[in-house]
Subunit: 391 residues, 2 copies
Amino acid sequence: MLNKTMQKLGEERSVIREIFEYGNRRAAEIGRENVYDFSLGNPSVPSPACVREEIDRLLNTLPPEVLHGYTSAAGAPDVRAAVASYIHESFGVPMDANLVYMTCGAAASLTITLNALAEEGDEFIVLTPYFPEYRVFIERAGAVCREVATDARFHIDIAAIEAAINEHTKGILVNSPNNPTGVVYDEEEFVALGKLLKEKSVSRPIFLIADEPYRELTYGKSVPYPMNYYENTILCYSFSKSLSLAGERIGYIAVSPMATNANDIFSAVAGAGRSLGYVCAPALFQRVCAKCLGRSSDIKEYEKNRELLYSALKEYGFTCIEPDGAFYLFVKSPEPDAKAFAERAKKYELLLVPSDSFGVEGYVRISYCVARSTIERSLPAFQKLAKEYFA
Amino acid sequence: MLNKTMQKLGEERSVIREIFEYGNRRAAEIGRENVYDFSLGNPSVPSPACVREEIDRLLNTLPPEVLHGYTSAAGAPDVRAAVASYIHESFGVPMDANLVYMTCGAAASLTITLNALAEEGDEFIVLTPYFPEYRVFIERAGAVCREVATDARFHIDIAAIEAAINEHTKGILVNSPNNPTGVVYDEEEFVALGKLLKEKSVSRPIFLIADEPYRELTYGKSVPYPMNYYENTILCYSFSKSLSLAGERIGYIAVSPMATNANDIFSAVAGAGRSLGYVCAPALFQRVCAKCLGRSSDIKEYEKNRELLYSALKEYGFTCIEPDGAFYLFVKSPEPDAKAFAERAKKYELLLVPSDSFGVEGYVRISYCVARSTIERSLPAFQKLAKEYFA
C-alpha cells in the first residue's frame, strides 16, 4: 500500500542520524554532558558576525512581505549575481549568474543535479569511503551507484576510476575536503581526473559533480577549484558548514560556463528542482549568504579540536590520518568489525559512526565539530576504550 | 546527455512563473507601477507581528549554532509537539507528534507525500481546475495524474470521482480553500467524499491528500478539517500564505492518527523526504511558526481586495464566482480561448493566468494578493479590456 523503498529508507534512517537520535535519548537519560556524541557534522562554532548583522539589516530595511516572499525559482537575481561574481573573483572562472541556481543546501544541490542528469541505465561513480546519502540520492534519481576505491591514503586512484568507466557512466561525484576522511585532493589529482574524463567523454560528456560543503574548512592546504580542471563540472555548494547554517538549508548549484550546452544543463537543473518540490531556496538566508560569501565561522576552533583529539588518539594507540580539512577524523578500528568497535565505544558513551555505511570496512568517523569541553571530557573514555585493545 | 523530461520542465517553467518573470522584465522596462501583475500567489500583506517578535526572541536567546543547526529530520521535537497540540485543540483530532513531519513548504509536503505513497502503476485523482504543479509532482513520483471535473460551481462531483476510481487509484488530492477558484468545500462534501473513499478502499486504502495552504484565508465560511471525515488522510500544510512566509519554505505533513498503519506511512514520508534531499525544514522558521500557530496575516486586506476587484469586474461585464477563500478570482474568459484573452489583457499591462494549465479551458486566474493601489490603478485597464468584448 506504500512505496516499500521509501518506507524502508524511513525506517532505517541514515546510520549517522540513527546514532544522533540515540545520543539525544541517552542525553535525556544521563545528561547531555555525559554523552560524547561525535556522530553528526553539525557545526559547533557560531556563524560569523556577518550573518547576524545581515539578518538584522534585512529585517530592518526590507518590508516583511518582500523579504519573506517568493524569489524566482533559481534565486533572487541579486543573490545569483553576487555568487557568480564571487566565483569569478575567487577562482577565475567567468561564471554567469544565469548558471547559478540557489538551493536548500548540499543534499538538495546533489538531488537536483542527479535528477537533472540521470537517464535510465546511467551510472554515477562515487569514491569510497563516501557520504552514505550519495547512494540514496543516486538510486532515487533512477541511476546506479558505482563504488570505486581510493588509494591507501584515501586519495584519488585514477587507474581505478578508468577501469570503472563504461558507456553507462554519466558522472562522478567528488568531495574535497572529504567527508569522512578529511582528505583534500591535490591539484595534480584534479589535473589527472580532468584529463581522464575528457578522454572518456567520447559519445557524451561525463560530468564531474563536485560536492563542496567543506571548501572553507581547511587547515593550511589550498583546495583546487574543480571547474578549473575540467569543463563539464557542476559544483554543488552549501553554506551549512562554512557559515554554520546547517539547519537553514541554503546552498547553490553552479554549472560551469565552459560545460557543453551549459544552458541546457541549467534548464534540466531548474526542471529537476521544480519536480522535486523545491520552489525556491529560503529567501531570508539567500540574501544573508550573498553578503557573507567567502566568510566562514572561526575555523581555528575546529583546528584546535583536531589537534587535541588527533594527538590524544595517537597517544592512546589509535591509527588515523591527520585530516587536511572538514571536521572529521577517520580512525582505524582496532578490531576488524567497525560496528563491534562502535558498539564497544558506546559503553563509554562515545558515539562514533562505523565506516561500513561509507562503503569501506574497518574504520569509524569521529566528527570533531563539538564543544572543546566535550572532547576534553571524552579523552578518559577514549583512553579506557584504547586499553581494551592496546593494553 | 541530460534527462530530457527535466530539461523540458525547466525550459517550459510553470505558466504562472513564466508570466511572473515576464512581469519582472516588463516592470524593468516601463516601471513596476505600470504593470498589473496578477500572476503569482505571493502574499502582499505583511506577516503578523508574532513572526518578527519570535525571530527577534530566538536570535536573542538561542546560541546561533543551536538556532541555525540541524534539527532532527522530521523537525525539532518541541515544534512537532506544538503542531500536534494545535491540531488536537483546533480540530479535535488526537494528533501524535510522531506523525508530524516538518517540511520546506507545501510543494515539499506534496512531493514527499506522493513519493511516499506512489508505486508503479498508481493513479492519483486531481479535481479540475487544479494547481498545475500537481501533475508535475505526481508524474515525478512515477504515478499517473487522473483529472476529474468538478461541478458547475467548481464543487466536488462525487459521481465523477466514483466513476474515475479503479484498482490503480492510490489517492485523491483535494485543495480547499481552492486555488484557482477560491471555492471552500462544504462539510457535506467531505462527508460524501469520506464515505465514497471508505467504500472504495477494498483491497487497499485510497488516501485523501489534503493540500491546505489557504486554510486560514477565508471570508466568513468555515473550512472543514478533512481528517474528521476520513481516516486515511494525509494533510499537507504550509505557512506560506497564512503567515506570509512563501519564500521561507516552511510547512508540515500530518498523517492522520486514525490512518491504517499510520506509523508505516510516517516512515515512508521520512524515507521520501530523505531520498529527495530534504534534510530538515529550515530551522529558524520551524521555531518561529511553532509560536505563531493559528495566527495569520491581516486577511481583511485580502477581503477588501476581493470586494474591490470582484465588484468592478462584475460591473464591467465579466463573469466570475465570488470566492469564499484563498486570494484568487477565477474569471470566465469572454472569448473561448483563454490564452488569447490573456494575451489581449497584456496590451493593457494586465497579467492574468489562462486556465488551460489548471486543466480547464475558458477562464483566467487573477491573484488579488497585490497592493490595493495596484488593483485601483488596474481598474481602468480592466474597463478598457472589457470594452473590447462587451461594448
